[in-house]
Symmetry: C2
Subunit: 198 residues, 2 copies
């Protein structure tokens, strides 16, 4: 990846995080990145090509936070909490705006751009694997009890987190994020998903 | 409200549910409703005025489903499940597209249109009161055990549902909605949010 491509992705990521993909013009990204007008298609095949690379760019940022806590020391559940607190703090430091770039694009693009939808679902699955790693580690050390289906639990956690961020953005408050963690950690440390509920 | 206003809201609701508020043009709505081009501002003060009335229109549709199940016969938890199944069936009947109109507008508009944000948060609170009514009824009849904070539980449920719908839209599958209900009902029928987790 060239320096210019990186600059366009970095600036595009900020603008699109705020305004959405459709509502952001290519010239706006070029202008923000200080790249000459009209040169976009020299750097990316299409706006779709740019968008797909942008999804990867966002995913890398999220995975960097997840991996940092996965590779740290201490009880898995403590690090799990610290990870969500870090995501919450990023959200509050941005004035309770923006939210999850992947969730935003998911709602905006999933019905109208199949290539985006597929890539976004891949990202959700890779994020789920990160959550799964915490749950597996926590279970192996006896920090959580009897979580039967780690993969489904991880999916529920990611989906609920997206909903909590959506609501936090509307409330302009981190409260839904704290509520999310309170419920999820309560569930994980003391309860199990029984087969009779399937 | 005039017939023309209603027609514009009804057609606008469909188009905006798919394409979002910003990406939908006024002329597109007029055309779909068979209303003469250029006459929009005869019927609504502004696109914002239209958008706020659209939020109310969506909210009424959601409350109609909630109220129907609240006023039905039988155990509260059964009706609670039937309500979410009805919302799930609406989603699948639409080809696992669209999702929650309130959630979509929330992500799209909360950072950029304060009047929309406030109205959307009001809708979330009114939906929460609907969920609360189920939980209160279920608790009073002993169908669920020891849910301490009904209001917070209802908020967590609504937020998680929004996240489940977001993911279902990406997966093009109702599976996240079923997973949501499985976790939430498991939690509610057998567990409690202990004070030590606060």
């Amino acid at each position: 990846m060239t320096q210019t491509q990186e600059a366009l992705l970095r600036h595009g990521a900020e603008i699109i995080h705020l305004k959405g993909f459709h509502h952001t013009g290519i010239n706006e990204i070029l202008h923000a990145a200080g790249v000459p007008k009209g040169s976009f298609y020299f750097h990316f095949k299409s706006k779709e090509d740019f968008g797909l690379k942008l999804i990867d760019f966002y995913a890398q940022q999220l995975h960097a936070v997840i991996d940092k806590h996965l590779e740290a020391e201490g009880p898995y559940m403590t690090r799990f909490r610290l990870m969500f607190e870090e995501f919450r703090d990023i959200f509050t430091s941005q004035g309770c705006r923006l939210g999850c770039p992947i969730g935003n694009l998911a709602l905006e693009m999933s019905d109208t751009h199949e290539a985006f939808r597929r890539r976004l679902e891949e990202v959700f699955r890779s994020l789920r694997r990160g959550i799964q790693a915490f749950l597996q580690g926590a279970r192996s050390r006896g920090e959580i009890t009897e979580v039967h289906d780690i993969e489904k639990t991880a999916d529920f956690i990611i989906n609920s987190w997206e909903g909590a961020l959506l609501r936090a953005k509307v409330q302009k408050s981190p409260e839904p994020l704290d509520l999310f963690f309170r419920f999820v950690s309560d569930w994980m440390t003391r309860h199990r998903l029984d087969d009779r509920t399937t």
